[in-house]
Amino acid sequence: MADPVITTIEIILMVPVALILGVLFLFLFRKLNARFQWRVGPVIRMYSDLAPLIGKTRIWQPLYDILKLFGKDTIITDVAHRRLFVYSPYFSLLFAISAAFFIPFPGMELLSSVPYSLVIASYLIISSILFTILGPVASGSPWGAIGARREVELFLVSELSFVLSIFSIALSSGTLVISEIAGRGWSAPSILLSLTSGLLLFVAMLGKLHIKPFDMPEAEAEIVAGPYTEYSGKLLGIYFLSKTFLTYVLVALFIALILPPASTSIFWLPAWAFAAMVLVFLLTVVQVLNPRYRINNALYWYVKVVIPVGLVSFIIAFFIRVVA
């Protein structure tokens, strides 16, 4: 492991970096979404006559949304289980931020070289999502409960594809340390493995970030706002903040695991940024091209696609392991 002082500095630096990148990814997502729908989306350069009144740019729009929520009243309903309702967003945020510490960023190794960092990171991501389920369950609202139930079902299947993907990669490189996986070399079978497990991880990201066709937990036309229905003000802001960090974490994890040397050194930063943008672009394309699935369709689809691809992925990983 690296020098503890450097690691500490990197960890402190990581929080704003992850926040900024998360906000930029969400902005890109919204902007591309709007462009696909023939709209303009949040403007990058404000019209010159409006700029003195409402700011020069809206690149930070997701951050403004969060800040605005911090300035509003927070309503806690009588029927809510108060403690769980209030603390869940904070725990979700805490786990999402700490997951960012275990994933390498170009030029920053952070804690990704500690033993079993892959397992730790995946557990932190799972815990963060778990608290986005627990809070709504405690809210006492039927919409929140339905949203949470859908989220649990979606979470179980998306977790299947997540685990199949990361462990076939771990199997092929024979280690559970993210920094070693991120530094592995390329060969013909490993390209194939990156394709199959990349597909699985991408599908898992769709489920975890609630991107269509897997946005049924937040289906606003049917169940109000799903899990977030009863949340308002600061607590909702914390949930959005946690989602911002989670977006960064999943994108960074994808690049670290699937596109090997891109997150090892600072010289790879342009490639990392390009890969991240392409990934967000692909997520947007899937979002705009698809309608919302019903939950049983989604489960069926996951089982039908994920298990065969996962098996192929495992066979390739096994092959690499035996031959190498």
Binding site: R30, A34, Q37, W38, R39, V40, G41, P42, V43, I54, G55, R58, Q61, Y64, D65, L67, K68, F70, G71, K72, D73, T74, I75, W143, E220, A221, V224, A225, Y228, T229, E230, Y231, S232, G233, L236
Partner: protein, 153 residues
């Protein structure tokens, strides 16, 4: 202007409360958010839950059966909040409203039970008018937000 006050102006979220009316105003309100006028350029977004909203957009005259729901939705919006009434119905009952003899089903405009901040008359108002009304609402929202902070200090 502090950063939170500025953020309040930059990202107003609307909750669209349809109470009665003929649906004309609702179509125009959605047109204001659609590609032609695209209010999301300025961060204006339609949200699904009144708990997330800053601006309550009401359309239509209120049927008597709908009174408790309107009050409840208004109370669910966290402070600071602004109500924008869109259309002739929401401004004064329009053609559905009768004073004498009283209409058996229609109460009239929503300002008989909740405080309305901005009125956008017209049957139905054009999207430009609606956006103008929402901008007036945002200005009121900013004023309410900053005066609230002064009170707390």
């Amino acid at each position: 202007m502090g950063i939170i006050d500025r953020a309040r102006v930059y990202s107003p979220w609307l909750y669209h409360l349809h109470c009665g009316g003929c649906n004309g105003c609702d179509i125009e309100t959605l047109a204001a958010l659609a590609p032609r006028f695209d209010a999301e350029r300025f961060g204006i977004q339609l949200v699904a839950s009144p708990r997330h909203a800053d601006i309550l957009v009401t359309t239509g005259c209120v049927p008597k059966q709908f009174i408790p729901m309107v009050k409840r939705v208004y109370e669910q919006v966290p402070e600071p909040k602004v109500v924008v009434a869109i259309g002739g119905c929401a401004c004064g009952g329009s053609l559905f409203y009768e004073e004498e003899p009283e209409n058996y089903a229609i109460l009239g405009s929503p300002d008989l039970m909740i405080p309305v901040d901005v009125y956008v008359p017209g049957c139905a108002p054009k999207p430009e008018q609606i956006i103008n009304g929402i901008v007036q609402g945002i200005l009121k929202l900013a004023a309410k937000g900053s005066s609230r902070k002064r009170r707390e200090v």
